[in-house]
């Protein structure tokens, strides 16, 4: 059974007249990537601030790796790396110096970790440039580096891809997936870019007005979104037979208009195309269909603006 990294029970946070978090109970298991989805003001950052010790709950319990007393939680936080809101950086220092301060205060003896971490986030050539002269994307990368330097077991990232260009976003996604795969790092990310979150996370937690409204695995989400591969072929029946024989699936529907909706092999549309082509099936349309994560989320909360204004 997977170890539970973080568990909250009835976690609530209120500020005067605002209920920022309302009875939030979640469990995060080791080795998974969690997408934390909610509108602006839903409570995502408040939740992360409480977990990382920057704020205190009004009521409820938190436990990190089974420790629920204050001292125990504080000790366990040494195993966490995080970015909360924007990266917190020393503007008049270089990237190397920022990481050196982190290395010293974390008690990491090996100085080579700094170069390795900078290389991992693509910041090896900043030299003596001060952080105040960095672009937004560079600051974001350095923030990720600061979170990674202690090789955390649990990574908490609040909007980590803000300000990154498309290539940078892909790099971060691949890096996070590699960290998760290589080291079994548990990752908890919030982001407004839901399409990107869908490609990165394997579990999704939806929050709205301080309350957890749903928790889904990737598979459950796909089912709920009714995601499918939609294909049109000149001979739909023959195409369906090929799907059964060559791909070993009967999880499909032939619609009245002859369109086939395939609910399997969603991660490998290319394979479907190759198999059909090899069997000389003439395909006139092949695409992914169904609700995107964004559409599903908007439907869940009853509309509203997901993206940052």
């Amino acid at each position: 059974m997977d170890q539970i990294v973080l568990e909250t029970e009835g976690l609530s946070k209120s500020y005067k007249q605002t209920q920022a978090l309302d009875n939030v109970s979640i469990k995060l298991n080791q080795g998974k990537i969690y997408g934390f989805i909610g509108q602006n003001g839903a409570g995502k950052t408040t939740f992360m601030r409480i977990i990382t010790g920057l704020a205190f709950p009004t009521s409820g319990k938190i436990s990190l790796w089974g420790s629920s007393d204050e001292r125990g939680i504080q000790e366990q936080r040494k195993r966490i790396g995080c970015i909360i809101e924007n990266p917190a950086l020393y503007p008049n220092m270089t990237a190397y110096q920022n990481l050196e301060i982190q290395r010293i205060q974390r008690g990491i003896p090996d100085k080579r970790i700094i170069e390795r971490t900078l290389e991992r986030v693509g910041l090896t050539d900043t030299g003596k440039k001060k952080v105040k002269d960095f672009s937004l994307g560079m600051r974001q990368r350095l923030g990720i580096a600061m979170a990674l330097i202690n090789s955390p077991e649990f990574l908490i990232l609040d909007e980590p891809i803000n300000g990154l260009d498309p290539a940078g976003i892909v790099e971060v996604r691949n890096m996070l997936k590699a960290l998760n795969k290589e080291f079994g790092m548990t990752i908890f990310i919030s982001s407004h870019i839901l399409s990107e979150l869908y490609q990165t996370a394997s579990e999704f937690i939806f929050i709205d007005k301080g309350k957890i409204i749903e928790k889904l695995t990737e598979r459950e989400l796909d089912e709920k979104c009714k995601r499918n591969i939609t294909l049109r072929a000149l001979d739909p029946n023959k195409a369906a037979l090929v799907l059964e024989e060559k791909l070993g699936t009967d999880n499909y529907k032939i619609m009245p208009d002859g369109t086939i909706r395939l609910y399997d092999c969603l991660d490998d549309m290319e394979k479907v195309a190759v198999v059909l082509s090899e069997e000389h099936i003439v395909v006139t349309e092949l695409k992914m269909s169904g609700d995107t994560l964004e559409e599903y989320f908007l439907e869940k909360i009853g509309g509203g603006d997901v993206k940052n204004s």
Binding site: E75, R77, C82, A88, M93, E100, I101, I104, M146
Partner: protein, 235 residues
């Protein structure tokens, strides 16, 4: 706490501001001492201690940049989210700021003391030199500690500097309040004014009593930091 102190020391030594402020204070002290030298034969060492009371606002700049700035940049996050306790963090800040201010404020005293020794013009205090030094040391630490409390209370570099300057001005106002006896009594217990008493060398004061009072100020400042920071909501 040792790791936190090391990290803070690294940050301090790699920041330009401490060196700029140290040179500025040394220069300002020199200008003020020169002004006195023009009018009378004077001991640079004695007057360097005297002018601490007026130039101690530089300590506010040091504290603003070493402690207050952490709240503007939110870099305290790295310590707190990394498992360091809030009190450990606050204590480290207090120690580093006090050490930095000892360096910046003590440097002119040391420099002009050496000049006096070379010129054989060192003032002969009524009290042993080590007692004079110790009293000055504690008064600087006490002032610095109050400024660190201000930084934790206002959580901003700019407000820390302004608050510290206002604190110094408020204390200096006591030198003009009431009768000379009251002025002297208040000067002995207010760390900003103590260098005036020490350097004047004409008043009867007890160094242990002064150190005791400064220790109370330091403890009070730390308790104040604890009160405002222990459960503060941070971004």
């Amino acid at each position: 706490m040792l790791k936190t102190l090391k990290a803070e020391l690294y940050k301090l030594l790699h920041s330009r501001f401490i060196w700029v402020v140290a040179v500025a204070q040394l220069a300002m002290t020199g200008v003020m001492i020169y002004d006195v030298w023009m009018r009378e034969a004077a001991s640079g060492f004695q007057y360097a201690i005297h002018f601490v009371s007026y130039l101690v606002f530089f300590a506010g700049i040091i504290v603003g940049m070493a402690a207050g700035d952490d709240f503007d940049t939110r870099t305290y996050q790295h310590y707190l989210t990394g498992g360091k306790g809030r009190i450990t963090f606050a204590a480290s800040k207090l120690i580093i700021c006090d050490l930095a201010n000892l360096f910046v404020t003590g440097l002119p005293i040391l420099v002009y003391g050496v000049i006096d020794i070379c010129n054989s013009s060192l003032h002969e205090f009524n009290k042993p030199l080590w007692e004079v030094g110790l009293a000055a040391f504690f008064s600087i630490i006490a002032v610095s500690s109050v400024m660190v409390f201000i930084s934790f209370a206002v959580k901003s570099m700019g407000k820390t500097i302004i608050g510290s300057i206002l604190f110094v001005i408020f204390c200096l106002g006591f030198t003009g309040v009431g009768e000379p006896g009251l002025q002297l009594a208040s000067a002995k217990v207010i760390p900003v004014l103590q260098p005036l008493v020490i350097s004047a060398d004409t008043f009867d004061y007890s160094v242990p009593a002064m150190i005791f009072v400064d220790t109370i100020w330091i403890i009070a400042a730390f308790c104040g930091i604890f009160a405002v920071f222990k459960r503060a909501e941070l971004k």
